[in-house]
Every structure is written in C-alpha cells, then in structure tokens.
Amino acid sequence: MSRPQAYSDPYVAGTGLGLVLLASYVLAGRGLGASGAFTTVAAKVINAPSLHQSQWLLLEIGGVIIGGFLSALLAGRVQWKVERGSRMSLAFAGGAVMGLGAVLARGCTSGLALTGGALLSVGGWIFMIAAFAGAYALAPLVRRSWL
C-alpha cells in the first residue's frame, strides 16, 4: 500500500467544497445536506412521517460515501482503524446527541451551516454560531478522550 499523502491545504479544499456547493445550487436549485438522509431512512424504518424526508439527500449521501472512499483510495488513506473503548462510546453518544440537535434545527453543518450560511440564511448562521458555541462549551469535559 502506498504511503498516505498529506491532506490538502484547507483553504484550497475549502474553495473546492465551496464550488461543489455552488454547483449544487446551480444544477439542483438546492444546497448540500446530510442529516436529512439519516432522517429519511429513520422515517421509513419506524414509520415516523414527522421526520424530514428527501430522496435527493439519500442519493447525495450515497455519493458522499463513494466520494470519500475514492479520495482516500487515491491518497492511500483507506485503512480499518478502531479506536479505544471510550472514544467509540463517545462517538456513538455524540452521534445520538447530534441526531437530536439536527432534528430540532432541521439540518446539520452541511445543510444549515454550509448551505444556509452561503445563502445568508438567518437560521443557518444562528445554527452555525450556536454549534461552535456548544462545541467549545463542552470541549473541556471531553478533553480526556481526545488526548
């Protein structure tokens, strides 16, 4: 297996991401998303019509998985990696908490912060600032698991 490449410059990668977002606006008349794909599957699994559903997001997330894999493959970064116990449980718990936050806010960093942010949506900016605030606030408490 080839040596893993270094990650791209964040500003360059960010510009690339911004162009993908722009392409989405122009070609699909809408921005990106992620949590919506999760709610779509969940709504079908337990029959909860109150959860937001979107066929488009389901297909998009499928693409995200493929794209992420492709990029890692090309850069030699595909590798099965399991973290220690506390990391894994916090990952699961964090995911569940994010699930609640995303349902309440009707979006996540992809759908609200990125998509809404670029369109100057009030909700998008409020969510983004609140999310950063919430993360910084809890950071000291979970510091140990990251060291």
């Binding site: 410059d9 500003y11 360059v12 510009t15 008349g29």
Partner: protein, 138 residues
Amino acid sequence: MRRTLATIAATAGVLALFARDPGTASLDRLGKSIANEEDHVTQDELNQWIKQKKSLRLVDVRSKDEFAKSHAANAESIPMDQIASAAFKSDDTIVLLSEGGAHAAQAWVILQMRGFRSVYFLRNGIAGRRYEPGRDGC
C-alpha cells in the same frame, strides 16, 4: 495559491459592495422577454405544437370548480395558489391556461422566477379560444 484565492475573494467582496442588487437582473430579463413576446403562444401556435406531438404540460390555473366544469383535453389542474410550489421538471415545456390569460400571465412570472425557462401562457386565455372570430359564427 492562498494569496490568489484571498485576492479574488477580496476583490469580489469589495465589488459586491457597489454592485446593483442581483434581484434586479432577473427582473430585467423578464421585462425583455415580455417585450419580445417570448412569453406567450397563440391558440394557433399551441395547436401546431399539439399537432407536432411536442412534449407539453398544459397547466390550467383556474380554480378546481372552473376546471371541473370544462377544461381542455390533456390539461392538468394546478390552481393559482399552488403554482408557486407545484412540481415541474426543469426541462418541461409548460403552457399556462386561464380564462382571460391574465392569471396565466401572472403564473408565467412566478414560474420564471422559480427558474423555469420553457414556460408560456396562452394569449387571450381559454375565452379567446372560445370566441375566436369566424369559428363560432360571430
């Protein structure tokens, strides 16, 4: 690379400060379309399209009651209050119908603002068709 990106962003940002509001660009385009009579079709043109079996969506924007009383063959009913959220494909060719053509013309503006380009309304509406000179002996 970073410097280039930053310069481009800064320039675009400063220029945005002095630019005319983007909302007006689409209004300009609409005004020109209307002036160039690209927004509507006559009954004859519509008949031609139907004869050519052109793939069309005939949309009747009158109320459900009016539609129920009588409507053109192959027309679908999407009342005015649902036009803003009705589902269309971006490559559909849509022809809007209303009684006198006014509502259809208004629906045309709404659909154009929603981003649909291949939209037309029937000039003089359905009524114009009904009372065409020579046809009904008037």
